[in-house]
Symmetry: C2
Subunit: 199 residues, 2 copies
């Protein structure tokens, strides 16, 4: 692993442990095996480090998906919903709690907001491209606007993630995921491909 990878891992661990509000450069250094001075050499401030961390999260996220002529766009979108809502994944709650606190900084911190805007745009572009691929493959309806679907799908999966984190065990996550699958993803399909009853 490179030093950069180690720093990102230390940031991830410190965020999970302390949340964003209580995160300090020292708490990240405490999770870092190499010389602490290396950390300060690479990053001037916590904000600086967090912006890089958000970019690193985006890259890891985008790496999870493939969008080529062999891809199954429906399966890719289902997979995205599972990763983002992440109710069943062991240990995702800590990082999602930390990300909620971090996103709540958006209104107050220009550099963090700018990176969050970049992440949002890349993720919506990926969703819209998957929808376009599905339309080209004849699996998805031609009258679906890929940009509209991307904004709606992203709002829905992020909203469900937030509810899971905020409301805990009482969150309606299972029914929200069922709604995403049956009312959003299933509606993408051309009639012949749909499982549900058609009106």
């Amino acid at each position: 692993m490179t030093t950069d990878d180690d720093i990102m891992d230390a940031t991830f661990a410190a965020l999970c442990k302390h949340g964003y509000a209580d995160l300090t450069m020292q708490s990240i250094a405490d999770e870092f095996d190499k010389s602490k001075s290396l950390l300060h050499y690479h990053y001037d401030s916590k904000e600086d480090l967090i912006v890089t961390f958000l970019d690193h999260l985006l890259e890891n996220f985008l790496d999870e998906f493939e969008n080529d002529s062999d891809a199954d766009p429906l399966a890719q979108l289902q997979w995205m919903a599972e990763i983002v809502v992440g109710a069943d994944e062991e240990g995702t709650d800590d990082i999602h709690v930390a990300l909620l606190g971090l996103r709540a900084q958006g209104p107050y911190d220009g550099a963090i907001r700018e990176q969050l805007v970049r992440n949002d745009r890349h993720i919506r572009d990926l969703i819209a491209d998957l929808v376009r691929t599905g339309i080209e493959q004849g699996q998805f309806r031609e009258d679906i606007d890929p940009e509209q679907f991307a904004a709606l799908f992203r709002s829905a999966i992020e909203g469900a993630q937030s509810h899971e984190v905020i409301l805990g065990e009482e969150a309606p996550t299972a029914v929200a995921i069922a709604g995403i699958e049956e009312l959003l993803l299933d509606e993408l399909l051309v009639d012949e491909a749909r499982e549900g009853p058609t009106a």
Copy 2:
């Protein structure tokens, strides 16, 4: 206005001004015209007051909607999306920023989480009831599961509100609202009532 109403107004004003993280009983007292001791007489702590405030927000929110045999459920759901996403409303951003910070307390504060769970349940119940009314009136498709739709719709509108607050001017709010209207609400309608092209 009753003292309770005055206290809720003072809490609203203080939240808009300071956000949740910097909210203190004193900052609320500063917005309160009557005797400060009244405030402390009514509420033991900031947490106590915030739980009541969340309940008051819920009541005001539910009062915006009607669901009886004369109601137009589609118009009511459109109205809800507009209120919650609230991109055009003057001055909604401050309270939405404050609510984001407040919701981010959910994982750390049991009393606030409990009230947020109550609010979530009541709002989803209202959405599901509107869907049932639409089905009974013959406007909405019978194969829509009201609970699934409620969880999905609520995730989508809250997700779009969060993006609006977090990302600011770069938020994809207009396209998200278009997606909510054309891909979620329009899909509720039985075929004869739909405006868009049908597959």
